[in-house]
Symmetry: C2
Subunit: 253 residues, 2 copies
DNA sequence: CCGCCCCATTGATGCATATCAATCCTTCCG
DNA sequence: CGGAAGGATTGATATGCATCAATGGGGCGG
């Protein structure tokens, strides 16, 4: 066989290898995906995807952080997601992206042409499954955020945000306690449906409550984990539907 | 062949045949999916899925309407989605559902055991693709809702809601103009992150603006389509990134 | 057909967060 | 090292929506 041995591919040492797109292929087939990839580098502020632009590419993040956002003519912005190394972005059912993606720190990413990627998926149907699982996780996360936006107050929102970033760090194999924020206050505000001032005040309040300590504006130490969690995680109804008519949910036939 | 001919299956006359799960199989294989289905009927208020219950089933709606919700111990509720005939629900990446699903009108649905369904999908990988597409659409819708919750005011939220229901009716081949609301005000409120009173006030205001007319509490006639749309649809930045450094988005290599 | 009950509507008030405005702090560059 | 600029914080005020409270109306059962 004259194909490149897996170990010689950059993919074999890439953080994203274990996640999403790239994890959907076996080592021996990896060169096929690598063949479609265009490596790209973005400065902070650089645009990976243009809102309203043709939806013809997909990105996989190798390093750095980005945000997915929606911007309106009257200057309102909603950040829909933060992207970490290993995340991918760009699949949509529309012809044009209804969101943009911007780097918030320097970013390295692999870009794939959607049409060519779809052909590869056609060839390796396993990729479909992996993508389905990832999208299912994304939906779960999205539901979580919907609840946060719809039903939490400012303090709970900011606590949830810190809790989330801490969680993302842990998932990347990093320590979860000093929380490092790659984004500025305006990004946090636009993610949580708040204003910069409110985010700042909530952080000050958390500090005053001795739940956190601010080493710098971008470095948060969680001091009182229980306190922060109880603000971030609103527990579900503990004994739901106890009096519900069992006929309504015939769990077994 | 001794298998049931497609035309003899109820599926051949089911509204859900053309959507999601059921559309992912060819006529000739349909009996396989049908074999896994348990037909179920729910009264208004009945529970299809129990929040925090084991995530072992998936539902496909044949008729009626349902909502997907998250309920907390302190009585807050966020409705995450409304379900219409043809929709499916129940895929999650968690072991337990982090949401419940309740019928808001009488519902007929097909229930599938997840493990058995996954085995069938294994056998027909095409289903994976179809599910991926559907989940991608769900993500797009979810992004839309995130923007609405994070950045629209009460009037815009309610206008968006009416616009959305109107759209759903059209997609089901029904007229989109007299908007029929199967849910009560509390459901609308919990969907849009508002209270019942605010929803009611917003509807009254829309009425006063002559954008809509209320034939009854559950029957809304759209009178001024442009007015309603301009409230519901916040236009995207028209000429985005015009001054952006082109190096940031090297669209062509 | 009446009356009750649930839900929607409308009104009055309070509060959380947005908005407007003024420092403060950090970083970067001369 | 000094000064400017962008971002964060803090303060003062305004406002939109929640909350509390009362009234209205439609549907269902007696």
């Amino acid at each position: 066989m004259s194909i490149a041995p897996y170990a010689s591919l950059p993919c074999s040492r890439c953080v994203a290898r274990e996640s999403t797109l790239c994890a959907s292929l076996a080592d021996d087939d990896m060169h096929r995906l690598y063949g479609l990839a265009t490596g790209q580098r973005f400065e902070a502020g650089g645009l990976l995807l243009r809102q309203e632009g043709p939806a013809d590419h997909v990105f996989s993040l190798r390093s750095g952080h980005a945000n997915v956002f929606r911007l309106t003519a009257d200057g309102k912005r909603q950040i829909l997601a933060f992207l970490f190394p290993g995340d991918f972005v760009g699949f949509t059912s529309e012809d044009n992206y209804h969101y943009g993606v911007a780097a918030i720190t320097p970013v390295e990413a692999c870009r794939f042409e959607r049409t060519r990627l779809e052909l590869l998926i056609e060839e390796f149907p396993r990729m479909d499954r992996k993508l389905r699982f990832t999208l299912t996780r994304a939906m779960d996360a999205s539901f979580e955020l919907l609840f946060t936006l719809g039903r939490k107050d400012a303090l709970q929102k900011v606590a949830s945000f810190l809790w989330y970033i801490s969680y993302r760090q842990r998932k990347l194999g990093q320590p979860d306690n000093p929380v490092h924020l790659p984004m500025r206050r305006a990004d946090i505000a636009d993610f949580m449906g708040l204003t910069v001032e409110t985010v700042s005040r909530a952080l000050s309040l958390l500090k005053q409550m001795k739940a956190i300590r601010l080493r710098s504006a971008y470095e948060v130490e969680i001091v009182d984990t229980d306190r922060l969690r109880s603000l971030a995680i609103i527990v579900a109804e503990p004994a739901p539907w106890l009096h519900e008519d069992p006929d309504y949910y015939p769990h077994k036939d």
